[in-house]
Symmetry: C2
Subunit: 315 residues, 2 copies
Amino acid sequence: MRRAHDDRETHVTNPATTLFSGLSAFPLTPLTDDGVDERAFANLVGRLAVHGVDSITALGSTGSYVYLTREERAAVARRAVQHARDVPVIVGVGALRTQQVLACVEDAQAAGAAGVLLAPVSYQPLSADEVLGLYADVDRAVSVPIVVYDNPRTTGFTFTDELYRAVAELPNVAAIKIPGVPAAVDEAAARVAHLRELLPEGVAIGVSGDPAAARGLAAGCDAWFSVIGGTLPEHALAIAQLAATGRHDDALAFSERLQPIWELFEKHGSLRVTAAIAEYLGLVPPMSLPLPIRGLDDAARAEVARVVEVLVLPA
Amino acid sequence: MRRAHDDRETHVTNPATTLFSGLSAFPLTPLTDDGVDERAFANLVGRLAVHGVDSITALGSTGSYVYLTREERAAVARRAVQHARDVPVIVGVGALRTQQVLACVEDAQAAGAAGVLLAPVSYQPLSADEVLGLYADVDRAVSVPIVVYDNPRTTGFTFTDELYRAVAELPNVAAIKIPGVPAAVDEAAARVAHLRELLPEGVAIGVSGDPAAARGLAAGCDAWFSVIGGTLPEHALAIAQLAATGRHDDALAFSERLQPIWELFEKHGSLRVTAAIAEYLGLVPPMSLPLPIRGLDDAARAEVARVVEVLVLPA
């Protein structure tokens, strides 16, 4: 399933579009009582590189970035770049305080990140002006492209289209990770077309919410920022590659086959389910999530095991 | 307006109830570009002690706890205890990861905190079991009472009554800070009576949401966890003391006079408005909130100034 990375070199006129296209896989950051299991993390990253994902986003929500200390995050960023071979690494830099975000940007760049992913993490609800101010402050500080990370469920902040445009006009903003697309295929296409109209040329649009990914790619998104892609890269690449060659019906059908996984995501949250899959497959140690997140209970783990036996192990 | 602190000594049979009664004032933690302005913070705390508030809660939401590093929080906790004279100090210990919460508990206790305030801060939405697990883990680690801090607007987590009960049954849980009471006086009384029924005996109930405080105290809450009390202690004490002597109509009327402040809270958030009041009064340096929170714009600051001139300076 390895893709020829030379593909990317043909689009040198717009490095941002090539960096933010295809499958960006989000590895877990496995934890033990003592902190990050750096060896298990390195293995996850190496595995993604071997499979030939288009990019690796370390320290996304799937990578529990916001639960880690600055030092832990810096170490994870370094490991990601070390083990990603020639696959570009994007690093999540969100934090509650701008000062902490800027520190994480510095560390990510020092580690060799090709881009940074930034969500407006909040405790006190933020205004649109404050969020724009955050991106402007980071924009002035970075030397790599920024992916705007819109994830209202975790940040508590909802972007408007106006704010998308204002943020995307900042010189270093190169992509927006949108939280999903409408359920109807034609509405999804209309939504992505509207965003293209709205955003400056060259700003990539990436879909997230794995169950909506095939639909998002069919609707014209450039990239899929994928939770499951960090743990089951073969499955995610199958969908992304069908979509990349215009075989959207086949991509949608493949995604449909993974419906039992999407249902578990819906029921328990994608992070808990993905961690349980990785734990079941022995890719990460048991109880790998940061407390107070406890992962799945035994009944839910049994459901995960059944789904993995049917959908994953024969692959 | 100083109250006789000896009042508290008469309730020695239930120290938790006496600790968590009356007015708990939440000071701001003023920031500069270089970090916490410890001198301005110490002055805020000393001022509250002189006015005779019943307790001081450092590092509440008003004190921007979740934006600060462990080291900054430890320093603030120490300063609070040093400058609070004989007023007991409660310290906010919430953080996204249980490990960080436990570190803050250790630091708060080492600083001499009389209690700790704990909200289920979240990024990934937490389940009720996970939140109960968090409180149980902290309960096992503390040597001082815990205040359960229910603030759905900032944490994204909503407690059920069942969870209130389960958490309150933990041995060291001594109080619950509820987010408010219903708008009708009789419904507010019914709500507090229901909570009394539900919770183990001796667990105190504190109201927050300053505009609802007089109503909450009239409805039978033991304490008022007060944003404005940390910056305008005279005004908050006037309400709390009227309520403590059963003069609830007068307390409600006094609160009604502060309606222009409550309207600003509603419009801009209590933290931004309180910081602007403190900045206008010269109690903290300008731009004292942690970025990306930018505080009020010039128009809103002008509104604050007008309200302060009318309601605060003549006091």
